[in-house]
Every structure is written in C-alpha cells, then in structure tokens.
C-alpha cells in the first residue's frame, strides 16, 4: 500500500446470521479522492462504512486506515476522520453549538471560533444555540455534516449527505465538498442514491452489488469507456435512413420515440465527416447531429444487476 492511500480494504466480509452483507470486498481510497459509493438497497454500502470506522467488526478481511490495520491504532487515527453514517447523529438535548463543541473536542483540541465557522459553513449560524431536538430534518442533516467537518479531518465519510436537503442545500453541499477537496485537500467518501450528484461531485466511484464490488474506477475513465451513439435529425427521414444504412460500420438502433424521432445509430466518431458529406451529396437536409453518451445512471443500472430505479439507495 502506498503512503497515498487513506483507506484500503482487503477481502472484507461481514455476515449477519445467514445474510452475507459484504463479501470479499477490496477497495482503495486515495488521498485527494472524492470517492462515490454506489449500490442498490442492501448492497452493503453502510455496512462497509461502519466497518471502515470500526463501528462494526468484520467477519473476515482487513481494513487499513492511514496505513494502520490494528483496531487500537485505527481508533487513535479517527482523530483525522470526520463521519456521518446512516443518519445525522447527535445529542438532542444539547444545542447545535454544544454538540459540535463537545463531540469535536473528543477528536482533539478545538477552538470555539472553529465551531462558529463550521456552523456558518453549513448555514446554521442562526440556530447554533437552539436545542438540536427542535431542528428540522434539513437542519439536522446540516448539523450532521458540520459534525463531520468540525475537527478539520483529512478524510470525511458522508452516508447519504443530501437526504432531507432542499435543492439549494444540495447545491451548497456539492460546492462545499468541491471547495474543501480543492482548497484544503480533504478526501471524501460519499455514499449517495443521487447518481447525478455523484456524477457532479466525485472523481472516483465504486459500485457494490449484493455486497460484492462490481467496479472501482476513476469517473473520467468510466466516461471514456461508456458506449456512445448518435442522433440524426434530418429530412427526408427515409432517405437519411438509407444513407446511414449504406455504411457498413453503421448500426441503426431502434427508434425510442416513434417514427418521427431522430435516427439513432452507432457509428465510429472519426468516420462522421464521410457520413455528413454523403448525406449532403444525396440532398438530405441536416438539422442536428448529436452524440448521446450513456449516463452514469444507465451505466450503474447495467452493472448493478440491472434492477429498477426504485430499488436504488
């Protein structure tokens, strides 16, 4: 393991009675990553995060945190980690400020100005001295994120951080993660069911299915390998279809929006000039020719058992 690796699991497994929640999971989170954790309901995401944090012992395999595998050493290293797992967790009878202050101090020295700063960062400075039990769902989520950030961690683990946030809150959250990663070099592990958020925020993702690792890859590399197709809007449509079909390398795809919809086809990108020239030569009026790339959601569904969207977590 290189010194650049913050979290590494090898052959990590956990079962609850007969249910295998996580099976032989090996993954690596590097310094500076914004690591997206994707999986359907029951895929083993939260169980894995709990094992990484030492909240749950694995039944097999190892977890390495900042290069240390022994439980006692890893516990001391939790001072460098901020986490919100499952749901925002805090003491309801204490105020938001008191929760941040006392829990933050368990990780090491802390100044009150830092607590004020973090409350301001998550937009809770107006409610810092109110008992946390009176917070709304969105405010509790913000407080949970603030708790994860208060002790200036190098690694932040956020489980479904956008749950309960309004669109503005989600946008602020995305900006915050990107800014802390860029300016302060904070590494993030983010589990989310909002694939669009993962796509917009993360630099690296892993997909779990049934407790097993399906893929772990840089998001950029995934997008480079994603299949792409083209959509051609031209008239007359039948003539355009004939021209496209005359190319041996073209594969016409079934029209997904009716007979008047743009023609969908797969075609080598570097042969496109030949195709457009042939269309113009045959008198076809070209309106639009656009590239359609598979989204992360389509990729995820194709890899994670191809189950329905309703089962996503």
């Amino acid at each position: 393991m290189s010194g650049d690796t913050l979290v590494e699991t090898r052959g990590l497994s956990r079962h609850f009675g007969p249910i295998q929640a996580v099976s032989d999971l090996s993954l690596t989170v590097r310094n500076g990553d914004v690591y997206g954790f994707l999986g359907l309901n029951g895929a083993g995401k939260t169980t894995t995060l709990r094992m990484i944090l030492g909240l749950l012992p694995p039944t097999a395999g190892t977890v390495s945190l900042f290069g240390k595998t022994k439980a006692r050493e890893r516990r001391r290293l939790l001072a460098r980690v901020g986490a919100m797992v499952e749901s925002p967790a805090f003491f309801p009878s204490l105020t938001g400020f008191e929760n941040l202050w006392h829990l933050g101090r368990l990780s090491g020295p802390l100044e009150k100005s830092r607590v004020d700063h973090v409350l301001d960062l998550v937009g809770l400075s107006h409610a810092g001295h109110r008992a946390a039990e009176h917070y709304s769902l969105g405010m509790k989520q913000r407080l949970g994120i603030a708790l994860a950030l208060v002790s200036r961690p190098e690694l932040v683990i956020l489980d479904e951080p956008t749950n309960g946030l309004d669109p503005n809150g989600i946008l602020e959250m995305r900006r915050l993660v990107k800014r802390l990663n860029r300016e302060e070099g904070v590494t993030f592990i983010i589990s989310s069911h909002l694939l669009h958020e993962i796509e917009m925020t993360c630099s690296r993702v892993c997909i779990l299915d049934g407790g097993r690792l399906v893929i772990e890859e840089d998001l950029k590399s995934i997008f480079e390998t994603l299949e792409s197709s083209f959509r051609l809007d031209a008239a007359p449509r039948q003539l355009a279809l004939e021209v496209v079909g005359s190319f041996a390398e073209a594969r016409i795809l079934p029209a997904d929006e009716g007979e008047d919809a743009p023609i969908a086809f797969e075609f080598p990108r570097d042969h496109l000039p030949r195709l457009t020239a042939a269309l113009v030569e045959r008198g076809v009026d070209l309106f639009t020719l656009t590239e359609h790339r598979m989204s992360l959601e389509e990729f995820f569904l194709s890899r994670a058992g191809g189950r329905t969207e309703g089962q996503l977590t």
Partner: protein, 275 residues
Amino acid sequence: MNPLINDLLRCLRFESRKLVRRNLFWMSLAAVPLTVVLSGWAATTLAQPVESYALFAEVSSWGFLLAAFFLLVLGCSSVNEEGICGALRAVRCRPVSPAVYLLAKALVLAVATLVLATLALIAAYLWTERAGGFHAVSIVIPGLEDTEVYSAAAMKHFTLGLTIAQVPPLFFSSGLGLLVSAAIDSSGLAVVLGLLISAGLGGLGSVQTDLAPLCPPALLTRPMELLGELARANEAVQPQVEAWTLTSAPVWGPLLVTGVTTLVAMLVFSKRPVR
C-alpha cells in the same frame, strides 16, 4: 498530559453537560428533599412523637431510598438512550476509548450520587433540628441500676458514621443502572431489570446476612434503622453501631461491588457493536 487523562477530562465535561440537561436529574434534585420534608411532616404530625435520632433515621432513609431509585433510573437510561437516538455513533466515530467514555459516565453519576445524598441529609438534619434537635440519650438496661448515657456529641458521632455508611449502596444503584443500560437497548426494560436485580440482591442480603455487605441494596435503610433502635434504648444494637467505621465491610463492600459492576459495564460497552 497523558492522552487517556485528557480524554477522560473531556468526557467528564461532556457528561456533566448532558446530565444537567436531563429533566430527570432536576426532578430528582427536587423530589429527594421534598420526600424527606414530607416524611418528616408525616412522622411529627400524623404519628406518635418520636425521638430525634429516630426521626432523623426515618426521614433520611426515605430520601436515600428515593435517591437510589432516581440513580438507578438515571443509570439505566444513560447508555441505551444514546444508542437509540444514534448519538453513540457520533461518539464511537471519535478516537476516544469506549471504556474511558463509560468511566466518565460512572464518575459523573457518582458525583450526582453525592449531591443527592447531601441534599437528603441536609433536609433530614434541618427537619430534625426544627423538631427539637439532637440531644443526649439514656439507655436503661433492665434489671441493672446503671444507666448508660450517650451525650449529644456521641450520638452525632454515631449518626455521622451511619450516615456515611448509607452512601456506598447509592453508588451501587447508579453502577448497576450503568451496567444494565450498556447491556440492554430498551431503557424501560433496563429500569425494570435494574429494579428486579436490586430487589433480588436485597432479599439475598437479608437471608444470607454474611453476604449482606456485598448486597448493597439491603443496606439502604439498615444503618439508620440501627440508629433508630439505639435511640429507642435498644442496647443490643450498641456494638453494631460502634462497629460502623469507614473501613468496615458495610462501607467498602458496596464500593467494591460498585467498582466491579462498573468494570463489567465498561467491558460490555467496549465489546458491543454500535447500532
């Protein structure tokens, strides 16, 4: 500073803050002296007039009994309620040792124990003073001409010794609550189980008197009963009263059991996965 000491100090401050935010704690602070005053009023108004030491013994025992109940409930709901609301996850994601975290809880409950015991005693003392105050006691031994007289100062000395002997069982109440709370997720069930264990140990201590020092709940009223008996000129209890010192088994027995109970609670808490 040693990191463990540092962690313990931070946890102590945290636990103190949590305790003062618990309604049950404030309720106990009000209820314990109020019970002492009400039992004193009942003893002096509704019943036959009683000797001042017997009055002190009776009213302080009621206060201690209620304090033991509140401490048991405070202990029984101290860990599992944090688990239910998820707050324990926030603690266990931090580098502090679970054993240190629980030790801080035990120490803060011990301070709460002292506060409640002091309140019960102050209320009992003030009520006794109001009812006539402490004075010398004569013990007449039938058949003999001699009358043994205990001065007011001697009686106060006995009273102090017996009073101190009442505090260790209170520590056990909170320690037992902490252990049950660390082992059982439901605070309601934990309170019921804590009361049953407490009553069971009390019963065992009554039957097996040689085990009584190690069965703290049995001692909750016994020292004060002795004082009351002495005040009623029952010379048979005199050796027992004089035997109560800080180093006697009825004092260190409950403290020892409390220490063991707290250690077991720390072990259980450290080994349990967090919800």
